[in-house]
Amino acid sequence: MSTTILLGPQRFTTTVGATVRSLGVTGRIAMVNSGWEERESDDGELAGHLDGRGVNLRLHHRMMDVLTKDQHFAAAAVAFRDRMDELRAFYGIRLQAAIDAVHAVSHRTSIHAVGPIAEESAMEAVREVDRWYAAELDELYGSVRATAPLDESGTIGWHRGEIGALLAECEAVVIAGGNVRTLLRTLRVFDVTFGPEQSVVAWSAGAMALTDEVVLFHDFTPHGVDAAELHDRGVGRLPGIVALPHAKRRLLLDDHERMSVLARRFAEHRLLLLDDGAVVRFPDGATELPAGARFIDRTGHVSVVGVA
């Protein structure tokens, strides 16, 4: 079975080369960096870390090609994005209000033991907002599949064929960071799947894309919705994990109350911290967090798997 490795951000602490070498891969390595968008072709440094064996799947470039050549798909894509933006706007309003309610309830003095019940109920309201968003998003995907089936696009089909052929020649795949929305969209449109023997090394947005629930977060963002937001489903190679790249830079990790709300909200997931230098290995198809992985526990503190 294949190995999956999630890394910390690669901008300042570059470990992807050593990590790929540790896999003993001798053949070609597929590169997915569509999250870089128009900088996708500036892949020289990444290819260098892969000893020149990297093959760029050029998913962003292919997406631009599809949008240019397939007017039916392009129109459907615009309509989908507009509807998704609207859905996200309403989700953001509801979510922020629900999260604010959790904090307000938790700060209220409780003399007669109503507080904990009220807080759990408020948390459930947050989860309900998340469920509503996920259901609406599913419906949206369903409607776009009905109006513009990806399988019927000749251009997409052609690219899928070429991507499949390229991937079949590769022993491993690396998935870089960038814009996670763009990355997910390209993976979905081109139906990029990885073979059972292909190891995958991913970081930042790439790591998020491998999970089943992609959660957007930035506690230091100056404005907008400051609560973490469910965004979309990932490719699901690592179910049960919410990947949190740049955690130290993007999360108020010392605000244990806030972190606890985040952990309890996604109670069925492990909130995995991926800071600079992190290397988290999932060998032989494993999906459980390995010993040494850092995560946010239900109390809102950073814990390490295997350390009591």
């Binding site: 951000p9 960071g177 929305r181 930042s204 947005a205 100056p222 404005h223 907008g224 790249p245």
Partner: protein, 380 residues
Amino acid sequence: MERLAVNRLRERLPLDGPTIDRFVGRYGCPIIEGERATFLYRGDVDEVWVRHRVVGLPDPLPLKRIGESDLWAVTTVLPEGSRVEYQIEIRKGEHYERFNDPLNPRLAHSPMGSSSVCAAIGYRVPEWVAHDPEARPGTLVEEQVHSKALRRDQPVQIYLPARFNRAQRYPLLVVHDGTDYLQFAAMKTVLDNLIHRLDVDPLVAVFVPPRDRLKEYPNHAPHARFIARELVPLLTERLPLVDTPEARCLMGSSFGGIASLSTAVRYPGFFGSLMLQSASLVFTDIGFDHGGGPAFDPVVKFVNRFREKPSAVVDRLFMSCGVYEPLITPNRSMVPVFRHAGMTVRYTESRDGHNWENWRDRLGDGLAWLFPGPQKFVYE
């Protein structure tokens, strides 16, 4: 606290020319020491003043001659983070003259000319003001829009963000005093940088200059009709804009703030947000003696009427004002009025005056609040 440099100099009287030269050369002007600013002037004159418009400080602020020398000085308090625009005025016999501080190379520019700048300790020009070679530039397109409302062709400049793509949809920002915002607040560079830094969503901005500002900006029906019924529909038809109120914002400073607010009042619900910078929100609680001169008459009428019947004409309102400008009190007073009307208001103050660099420095906060960028989507 260490003694001020100018006081140490005074201990060395009498002063000769080379000593003064070395002093000025070493310290420059104004001399910032903690929260004190010392202004200097050198010349054979009878009187010297610092002319500024800082509410709370004497204006003119007289300088005193140091001993029998030709060096004049005055020290004033200048709290951390302050930024003051000023000029020097001199009297020689019956002759008065006013000019920028010859000992201070730092200037600010405006439609009225230039001024010297005194930046206190802690003031920094935001880093997103300077050209960033990494930031892809947007483009400015000049157009003439025929307006039936204004009965003329109105020039506008349309900003299209970098990577402008017709398959995307963009919010729209309408900028009053558009040419001045571009020229004196570096707004194109600011937009390029803020969008590049993911602080601000890519947006389309239309920069609209006035022709007769004092007539068109204080609650003028043809101007409002031009913006809401001609310009915005035209741009919405021609450009890939998000066609909802939430994605439409009016902004302006001073009288331009009144133009923005009054347009929103005339077309309530059509715009989702406003950005008012040092808006001329002058009002009276009794009588009509507002002290602003005839130009403010229509402003005061409009603001008084709004205060009588406040309404939520937009959802969100960003307001900024300098604490050193006379408009600080009316701006502060209007914040609760807007909030009670049901608008979400973000209000910020700065230790600055009624000038373009103050408005420039607040663009980051205002635009990022009104058009939050896609930071949450990017994990490099």
